[in-house]
């Protein structure tokens, strides 16, 4: 026993020279489905994987771009981006990081079983140009490729081949793939224990190349224990009782209590996610309305009336308890292409709304069903309830149809809705992603209108989106600006607000709030 104690003391004495042990225990409602870096493009997966894997280009604290595994990058030809790689980096299991790994990882993200297709959609292939230089050849000139490549994690080719994991996991396979529970990245932390739905433990990788960067020099966390807690009340109880240091998704109704609690801090910041109503502007007769023979929503005046009947400040104050940023457009200022002058709402004006409805031929309003998720966005169902009440005051008899997300999404994806609430995040942080998915006519082209379930179609809008795809510089900026103006004037959606996201933590823990709702523990301090 005494020997053991002495050994322990010696171990402590030796360890004192290095970073002191600092453990942070944190929680959110969901657990990552997988540890495979190219399989599921979900926030819950990325929040663990981005601690372990590095992309070529990293995000800074304000979501700008900074060198990651690539030290610099340049569009050397319209269809060719060149990346100069960092030398001397090692994977957690000891393999050297090389250009081969980059080519392999980009190719792996392009596989049909990958969920990361949007980040590599324009890429034809990646090739090694020199030992530490990789060229990415695109099918069309892609000015925002670095924005997208910042979401592609780099794996070791040798390791993936050794474990028979050269493609992202496939659900049909009878056997579990190695990458579902094992990782081998180059990042700031490596995976030590993975028990799905119970705990995931990461430990500091002291050899990480980035510890010397100014932003992460302050980071002192040596161990991260993630334990999902799905019940809101329990998650907050665990934070209050000190079993958890940090909660990523505290429920809004508990925020006031948390703010008042001793030793707890609530950090609030904007999220890159906009909540809006989208509607069927395609059919000649709505599926869920009492108007027969015509579609009221095809009439601009009706769309404006529904818009102007909404008292957005009341929703901001009461429903969202101040935790939202009211907007007149459909992506927030962090997104490349945002124009302040186009972010203007039609004013709240019930009299005007009634007049517009009368002018359009609905002096007594009309009936319609509003579809709404009830567990996807912050206070989603309550927002819809408020809107239904506001519309009632101008004569629109809306019926609320609120449902869980696993029923809601299949329903709108079948084009089976007349008007619905949607929240849209922008992982590429570029306007094109929102325009192309939400407003482009659906013509079968990759990514075109895949979330345009109201089937909005405007030839000029399509032209402008094609310019955004193919051109760069001033021409592209002008196209975005004009498209935003059309959005404001043509009212394809009724914009509501950008979400704010609160994080709750014990006062001795510090971490920068990120608009992509991702905690970066390399920048965190535990005191």
């Amino acid at each position: 026993m005494r020997k053991l104690l002495m050994a322990a003391a010696l171990g402590l004495a030796l360890g004192a020279g290095m970073v002191e042990a600092r453990t942070v225990r944190w929680s959110a409602s969901g657990d990552p489905n997988t540890m495979d870096p190219h399989s599921q493009n979900l926030g819950t997966v990325t929040m663990v994987l981005q601690q372990i894997y590095d992309p070529l280009i990293q995000r800074t604290q304000d979501l700008g771009l900074a060198p990651g595994l690539a030290t610099r990058w340049e569009q050397v030809e319209p269809n060719r981006w060149r990346f100069w790689l960092r030398e001397g980096v090692k994977f957690h299991e000891g393999q050297d990081f090389t250009a081969e790994d980059v080519v392999f990882s980009i190719t792996r993200a392009q596989a049909p079983t990958s969920n990361y297709g949007i980040f590599v959609d324009t890429i034809d292939r990646a090739v090694q140009a020199e030992p530490f230089v990789v060229d990415v050849i695109t099918r069309v000139p892609d000015p925002i490729l670095p924005n997208k490549i910042a979401s592609v994690f780099i794996m070791s080719r040798a390791w993936s081949e050794q474990h028979n994991a050269t493609r992202p996991q496939n659900t049909r396979a009878r056997e579990e793939m190695h990458t579902v529970r094992a990782t081998n990245g180059t990042g700031a932390f490596r995976l030590q224990t993975r028990e799905p739905d119970v705990r995931t433990i990461l430990v500091r990788n002291n050899d990480w190349w980035g510890w010397q960067e100014p932003a992460s020099r302050e980071g002192n966390v040596t161990e991260i224990i993630y334990r999902p807690i799905s019940s809101d009340a329990t998650r907050i109880a665990a934070l209050l009782s000190g079993e958890i240091d940090f909660v990523l998704d505290p429920p809004l109704q508990d925020l006031n209590r948390l703010r008042a609690a001793q030793g707890i801090r609530v950090l609030e910041g904007p999220e890159v996610r906009t909540i809006f109503l989208a509607m069927d502007v395609h059919r000649d007769e709505l599926l869920y309305s009492d108007v027969r023979g015509r579609n009221p929503l095809r009439d601009l005046r009706v769309r404006q009336a529904l818009y102007q009947a909404i008292d957005i400040q009341a929703i901001h104050r009461t429903t969202m308890r101040g935790q939202s940023v009211v907007t007149g457009t459909f992506f927030p200022p962090q997104v490349n292409g945002y124009v302040q002058e186009e972010d203007v709402r039609l004013p709240y004006d019930q009299a005007r709304a009634r007049a517009l409805l009368a002018e359009a031929g609905y002096p007594n309003g009309f009936g319609i069903t509003l579809d709404c998720p009830n567990n996807r966005y912050i206070n989603d169902e309550q927002i819809c309830q408020a809107i239904v009440a506001m519309w009632a005051r101008v004569g629109v008899r809306a019926q609320l149809n609120a449902m869980p997300l696993n029923l809601f999404f299949p329903k709108i994806q079948r084009d089976d809705s007349s008007i619905y609430l949607l929240g849209w995040g922008v992982p590429t942080l570029d306007a094109l992603y929102s325009f192309q998915s939400l407003l482009r006519s659906r013509d079968g082209g990759q990514g075109n209108g895949i979330w345009n379930y109201g089937r909005y179609s405007n030839p000029r809008m399509d032209q402008l989106i094609d310019i955004m795809v193919n051109q760069s510089g001033e021409a592209r900026n002008n196209a975005i600006r004009e498209a935003l103006r059309i959005y404001r004037e043509d009212v394809p959606h009724i914009p509501l607000h950008h979400q704010m996201i609160p994080w709750a933590m014990r006062s001795n823990f510090q971490i920068p709030h990120m608009a992509n709702n991702q905690p970066y523990f390399r920048w965190a301090r535990m005191n």
Binding site: R172, V180, A237, S241, S437, W451
Partner: protein
């Protein structure tokens, strides 16, 4: 005896098949697993490929037959949500649920039976009145509320017990146990009370009612007339005769404890099968849901069989009755 067991097992098969069929038919309404698996960005071609890959484009009866065929061989496929074999997932989660259910049942019995006997014998004492009032709380408060109240008092205010999880576990072969570590035992206290409280009060009230009934019976009067001590009358004669209905209820409730630990497991983030089921419902993870429901119906059928066998042990009249082959 053997013929009895075989006939019961044969009766169980249609039960299992109908449970499988009903649950399978319901899955059409829980949502679309494909939409959840594909995430935010996909093309129609990718969607079609995945639907074909998962076999979801085949007719209902073909899907069902395939499922039954595979299930008969113990093959439940890969979870849509976690991409791991369903059998592994359930095997990993089962120890947590079973240990919790076992602890809750033992707690309910060890506390419920003496309380029932006491309230039956001393009907008018103030302690009996207190027990009865307390049992009303156990019967009427919903499980999740009891769980949250316990967390608030013992985890947040007093800080004595953990509010969630299973603590540290020890691996014994394929089984992980929380019985052997201090944190594991501490973690077990609140969920076991939450899960067992309803059963506890149920058993108490049942034993009390039976005791009152039995104590009025003639043979108790005779026993007293024979001058037997109170102890022998109460426990040797009275309690033993109250046990048949108690065994039935406890047996059936054990099944219920295992199957409906879902709520308790969700409140305490207890990593058992119930939590797995709830998370699978959220993701429309059909392979896990169907395997779980099948397993639970198997548990119920097995427990029923054991309860029937226990009747034999406890009640001699049943043995004689069957021996005569008459009524």
């Amino acid at each position: 005896m053997f013929a009895f067991i075989v006939s019961r097992i044969l009766q169980a098969l249609p039960v299992l098949l109908s449970v499988a069929l009903i649950s399978f038919a319901m899955f059409a309404y829980v949502g679309d697993p494909v939409a959840i698996m594909l995430g935010q960005d996909y093309t129609q071609a990718q969607r079609d490929a995945l639907v074909a890959e998962l076999g979801l484009d085949r007719p209902f009866w073909v899907q069902f037959a395939t499922f039954i065929g595979n299930a008969a061989q113990g093959e439940f496929g890969l979870s849509y949500r976690l991409s791991r074999p369903v059998a592994d997932l359930i095997a990993e989660r089962a120890p947590a649920t079973l240990e919790l259910a076992f602890t809750a049942a033992v707690l309910a019995l060890l506390v419920g039976v003496p309380m029932g006997v006491y309230t039956g014998l001393y009907r008018n004492s103030w302690l009996s009145r207190f027990f009865l009032t307390f049992s009303l709380i156990g019967v009427s408060l919903p499980t999740f509320l009891i769980g949250i109240l316990l967390i608030l008092v013992f985890a947040v205010w007093l800080g004595w017990l953990p509010s969630f999880g299973r603590g540290d576990t020890v691996r014994l072969g394929a089984w992980t146990t929380g019985f052997l570590t201090v944190s594991g035992l501490k973690a077990l206290v609140l969920p076991a009370i939450t899960l067992g409280l309803f059963q506890l009060t149920l058993i108490m009230r049942l034993v009390r009612a039976e005791m009152l009934e039995v104590l009025r019976a003639d043979y108790i009067k005779f026993a007293r007339a024979r001058g037997l001590p109170n102890r022998a009358v109460h426990f040797g004669h009275a309690l033993k005769n109250t046990l048949v209905p108690v065994i039935t209820i406890v047996g059936l409730q054990l099944g219920a404890i295992i199957a409906f630990a879902i709520v308790t497991e969700t409140v305490f983030q207890w990593p058992g099968m119930g939590l797995l089921f709830i998370q699978s419902v959220g993701a429309a993870d059909i392979p896990v849901m169907s395997a779980y429901l099948l397993l639970i119906s198997l548990v119920f059928v097995t427990i029923n069989l054991i309860v029937d066998l226990l009747y034999y042990a406890v009640d001699p009249r049943l043995r004689i009755g069957r021996g005569k082959g008459g009524h």
